[in-house]
Amino acid sequence: MVFILGVNFPERNLVKKALQSFFGIGNDTSARLLARYHIHPTCKVGELANKQVLDLTAALSDMKIENDLRRKVLDDIKRLRETGTTRGRRHALGLPVRGQRTRTQIKTAIKLNRVDRRL
Amino acid sequence: MPPLLNLFAARTAASTVRISAAPRRSVLAGASKSHSALSQRRWNSSGSDGKKEAEEAQRAATSMPHVSEEAAEVSRIMEKEKRCDGVPATPELEQGTMVSEILSRDKEAAKHAPKVFQDQIRKAQSGSRSFSTSARRGQLEEQKPSGGVPAGSKADDAAHAAFVQSMITQVTEDAAAAKQELAPGLKFPAPETLPRTENYRSRYEPLLEQFTKLIMRDGKLGIAEKNMYAVLDHLRTSPPPNINPRRPLLTDLPAPQLPLNPVKYLTIIVDSVAPLIKNKPMKGLVGGGASVPVPVPLVERQRRRAAIKWIIDASDKRRDTKFAQRLANELVAVAEGRGGVWDKRDLVYKVGIQGRALLGQKPKTRVIRM
């Protein structure tokens, strides 16, 4: 078991997938992170050297991920709402924000768009 | 007025067909009547001592009667029935199986049986049957060990071998003569017959093709062929089977020779477990609307299909990682007389024997007369 940014990962997991388990890190970001520290894409968590683990943790702690990112997204929506923009209003109404049609296919917007959005 | 259905006429017609089929079968089995007994003898590789024959005879006496034996009995009954002017004969009265069965089981009783019975039993144990029990293909039978001297090395055997030998030499001489007499302008003789494999539609053995298509899923023939080759390679490389004497393979090849030709090995395995009959549930034969299984004979392709299906089903219960591995292991198990496939066939035969009394009967339907 290896700790990366305080989270415990089993040794047989891929490093790439382990990084992607953080909110805010996807395919591309994790690939770039691996390249920055010269870790090959099929590397397992157990094969990481100590220095590489520390490097990764340091890099992750500098990034805006997890709760910081969630708070930022919520703040952005709230700001839009408070300044009275259309985008803010659409969020509050639970309707599509970016000019999509509303006659059909707005299930996702109904489900997700709101001021206190669940993330 | 609607035509009346004459049930009796239909039944006699059916029986005539069956009778006329019976002698043709014996012609097929051997080249002539004098050869038929000879060709049905089992060909042993190991010099043919009397012990093995006696063993086989004993097995024939103790185990269940062969299904084709049943068919012959049935046809005999039907013949008699025709002579008795349509009076249906009950199997209990006509077949006489009960007493002979008892005698075969009880040796003490057999000693004190009437002379007629004893004669009959002795005749049955002589080893040669008057009808074919062979389920193997003609092709396999042709490829006997060419050592020449077969099992008995008796006088008639030797004569037969000499006869075959002379035939072969004559044919080769003819071929050589034909080769020399080329038409002017030709450099090479014409090929006698194009081998079957040269036609792209029939480049595989029929059994191999049938097996491959039966393991095909979702129409993916390529994957099925890949698996088939993996199975054949496994058969080729796995140690030769320890054949269970109670469940022998229908072959005269010794077991160590089997893996050298995996296709033949596969054919032998499948043909050995292939059932001769299937039990078809028929309604209306007995009262009360219940359906009763009645044995129906199968042709070769149907027999093989049943066996292959059983083998594939049994292989699904194995725990190997790959399908080809499971299937190959199951095939070797069948060759060694293990596995549930043999039990399945025994069950089919048992049910078939129970249902044979109803053979040839038509379901009772209500005929409305106007």
């Binding site: 047989r12 690939a31 770039r32 691996l34 390249a35 920055r36 010269h38 870790i39 090959h40 894409p41 099929t42 590397c43 094969e47 | 092709q139 490829q143 017959t193 081998p195 079957r196 494999t197 480049r203 595989y204 053995e205 080759y229 390679d233 080729r236 490389t237 796995s238 140690p239 030769p240 160590p256 893996p259 050298l260 030709n261 995996p262 296709v263 033949k264 725990r319 990682t321 790959k322 409305i368 007369r369 106007m370």
Partner: protein, 504 residues
Amino acid sequence: MVSPFCWGCLTRLRPTPRTLLPSPSSVSRGPAFHTSAVFHAGLRPGSGRGATAVSKFRQPSNASMKKRKKPVEKSRPPPVGERKAIRKRIVLSNPNALEVEGLQELSEETMVDSRLHGTALALPVPMLDQLRAVQAFKPNQGWSIFRRPCTILRQETLQLGRFFDKVSGDGEHKGPFVKKKIISGPSKSGKSVLLLQAMAMGFIKKWVVFTIPEAQELVSATSSYAPLSEEQPHLYVQNEATAALLSRTVVANKAVLSKLRVSQDHPALSAVTPGMTLEGLANLGVQDPASAWTVFQALWGELTATAAAPGLEKNFTPRPPILVTVDGLGHWMTESKYRDAEFKLVHSHDLVLVRHFLRLLKPGGDQPALPNGGALLYATSTTMNPPSVYAFDLILKRAAARAAGFKFNDPRFPRAEAYSNIDPRVLEALTSQKSKHAQEKKLGHQVLGGVTHDEARGFMEYFARSGLLQETISDEWVSEKWTLAGGGVIGELERIGRRLRVAA
């Protein structure tokens, strides 16, 4: 008019069974003259079965029957690594196949004997472990159906054998010759098996054999990598792959390496003692992958040394020739799957291991590539879906043209297309220059095609004598199969040999 039915029949008809008639309760529940109430009663919510039949407003109703749940199979996946082990398993013997009588083994005499041309030669049994160690056998080759591994002595093998004999023989032509060759050819034409035969000859002649069995594994980003040093950040070292190479070399060449001793100074390696064997030196790198690259360089320096460093003369014995084989060269001619810190793809030639072996191939360097003689045999591969690299194809075409006698100035000499995006590094790495050393020839190129009819016949006879092919082998039959096998492509011949089983 008379009815066709007789009354007797009709009277004898049984009454219709009651179950088929509509039951009186379902019909006459309400008043006979007004049925709508009865109808609605069934639809009223809460009244038994009718309630479920009413569909809600604008809810999609599913007309199909409810699907029955499939029984969940509770089979556990096989243990980790088992499937890979099955995939990579190499079986070298089939006890069911017949022992071939009069089979000769590959040895110093037989490998140059042109009388044996076209016959199968068995690989010596003690050598099989060495060949396994250098991963000379591939899982998709048909070793598993024969009694023991054999190879056909084909024309190219004989040529190789003569070269091996020339380099380490005792004749007057003895000398540290170097053969540099790229082997290409269509799929299944026996390129990897030719490399295997070369390795076997190397082991027979007591050469040191280095192999890269899968060139792709070095560039497919499946093993660790790191920048070489602070000064050269654009070069990358692969410690695990280097350690694996060292371990292969040590296991296979134990007999040779254990007799040679360290005779050079290695300031970078503190663990090296003066009297150490080269086997011990290589094992340092196997045990500690972090130092594998340094150890490999030290080992290479020792093996290519022609004289001892001052003060270490008593440990020096003449170094044996070296054989280097690489299978799948095409993968090294493009960018690798590794990324640098800026997320750009690393070129294969920037990986030090690849760079080392490619630099050996390039003639015209200041130092001879192998001062003690040897061979560099680099084969292309078609099995692992190699990348198509225009520059590499051009180089192969040029080599073929040069072999056919075209000069560079000849208009028929292949040129790069004007707008082709050609990789200059590939061109530069493999372009043949005039060699500065007499015993080093130009970079050669060998196209492996089909075998000849005689070789095909020998191969098919080997099948027949192993009991796998039950046919009469005649010249006509062999030439028919030779044609079917695409002009004697040996892999296709093998397929025919193991598959033609149908009795005509």
